[in-house]
Subunit: 386 residues, 2 copies
Amino acid sequence: MENFVLHNQTKILFGKGMVAQLGTECRYFGKRALLVYGMESIKKSGLYAEITGLLADQDIAIIDHGGVVSNPLLSHVREGIKKAKDNKVDLIIAVGGGSVIDSAKAISCGTCVEHDVWKFFTGKKSIKQTLPLVCVLTLAAAGSEMNGGMVITHDEKRHKFGTGNNLLNPKTSILDPSLTLTVPKDYTVYGAIDAIAHICEFYFTTKIKAPVQERFMEGLILSIIDSCDRVILNLNDYEARSDLMWCTTLALNGWTAAGLGLVGFPMHMIEHTLSAHYNVAHGAGLSVIMPGWMASMVARQPEKFNQFSERIFKHSNTDLLKNGRAGVSSLKEIFSQWQAPVTLAELDIPESALAELARESLPLAKNWRMNDYSEKIIHEILEGCL
Amino acid sequence: MENFVLHNQTKILFGKGMVAQLGTECRYFGKRALLVYGMESIKKSGLYAEITGLLADQDIAIIDHGGVVSNPLLSHVREGIKKAKDNKVDLIIAVGGGSVIDSAKAISCGTCVEHDVWKFFTGKKSIKQTLPLVCVLTLAAAGSEMNGGMVITHDEKRHKFGTGNNLLNPKTSILDPSLTLTVPKDYTVYGAIDAIAHICEFYFTTKIKAPVQERFMEGLILSIIDSCDRVILNLNDYEARSDLMWCTTLALNGWTAAGLGLVGFPMHMIEHTLSAHYNVAHGAGLSVIMPGWMASMVARQPEKFNQFSERIFKHSNTDLLKNGRAGVSSLKEIFSQWQAPVTLAELDIPESALAELARESLPLAKNWRMNDYSEKIIHEILEGCL
């Protein structure tokens, strides 16, 4: 494997009732917190009241910053930064899924500088300081709760850009699977697919032979499929929700990637363009792009796809290429069984849109150092997703 | 799975040449370091000269404390504590395998108190403070480089006791697989077996159904078997050494155990008594005890052993018990192929010793809260190892 440095300092509190510890986890970081969240659902569920009560018990003042949307927007991040500066907050608290946590991360670094936060995303500035961030996760999907990555969408340009820094790792993340029991089937599935995509990006784009990490990733994919199946059977299955939640965190917390060297995010690259322009759910976009991208790659890495097929789906065709393709088909079939879209048509994206999508994906390819992706190649992959 | 808190703050620097960063990793912690190591081998290999040079470059003064033996002794720990106090050291640096790192951990907490360090091991005192610890690992085995556990042997009483605390986690551990290229075949194998035992203790003693962690552990066992096989074929295979080293760290760094609830260490319990009384290598002792313990447990957890057999060795006998036993036999066979001992006779331990070994194991069972182990049960397990 490649040399690596691994230092993930996020403290995880996992399980039912762990939210009760929010106040004591936050009090070390100060007395004034910006509370970032999404829509009204956490007020309806009672979680908002519980959290504000816990913070009040520790004499932590709250500056409210709700309203994060999925594919979270730069304009809302900028508003959050202004509030955080005006109120001299000591810490940020995020209550939600990946969109909320990513917004909170952007606010946590943007508050520490005079320049516009977007410069971190375009690579014009580097993150050197952040406010401490504490998260309460309510959606098993993005993995942002235990890593230093974030993705934000520029409102006007419709650029969905990501960046990362160890300093963005949350100090503490509270993962209570019972908070996800109310997530409907479609968004549960999208979360599972997002996590599978995170793993497959690493698994198929690394140029390094890394047998230990490969086994770990294969185990996670098997566990995601199994636990998502169980959740679909019974949305109230706490154990299945727990397994799925922990898998989605592990899929992108750096543990599987340590030793893989430089990896790419080609599926996310194309999907980010898709969801920035059509506002489809991220997991729904990935459900379409992933099988298409994988099908286009089988011939380039027949051994790797063969291993994937063998170990995940027990396919045993001795023709490597055929066996690899069978694995991709099986994955696509699972997404279909989960009633996730697997074609652009199902997302109402017409063939005429492909040229623009391919063109708009290129800046992301450059951002993520994936120089082997031309407009033509991206167009071909998209054609395979029609 | 069970609720858990996971907060492993050890920073890992993994790969060839990473030792060069030792000085910069240490300088944040102070100017006076106690350097703990084993025998003369690191002087012969040139590692000692490299390390002292790197520390000198950062103006870090070294107080030398070599001479740690395997099954490390309390008397030597006490000497180290005296040196650390007399010289007012700011940090501890460990260069070696698990014995050296465990000794350094004991010194790091023992230096911060007035009472004798052994009280931490008997449970009479709790660890509340430690000196920072930085490790350079030279043996892939114990996993101590990324956890808060330590095991020390009382010279006179021959009690080999372990204890743990998050504060004992090393600040930084440098894992350079090339430092293990000179480890001979037998000790390489013992390291692999030690790691398999760490995983199997968790895997078979948890009372919690934890499918995600089970897949992770199964992947690790498969990877250890595979990488150890490759190392045996060519002791200079850097990639195989890398895979094995990373597996042995992951086997006991808390990642697989998170969510498993209370686990036991029955194999280590019996082996610690064995090696405290007969001074056999820890991995050699485990190689004998593990298959014996597992064979005695198949009937109690037929489903778990069946899963182990299926997923690790692809056994597919439809009789659960037979299939489970086949897996245990396969593991024992691998240890034999690796030329590790699999019977007490091979360790020159006579049947007449069993009664005393069983009796001496009991305090450990109590220490580790394994109240279902009586002298009789331990005796029966040992009989199965003859």
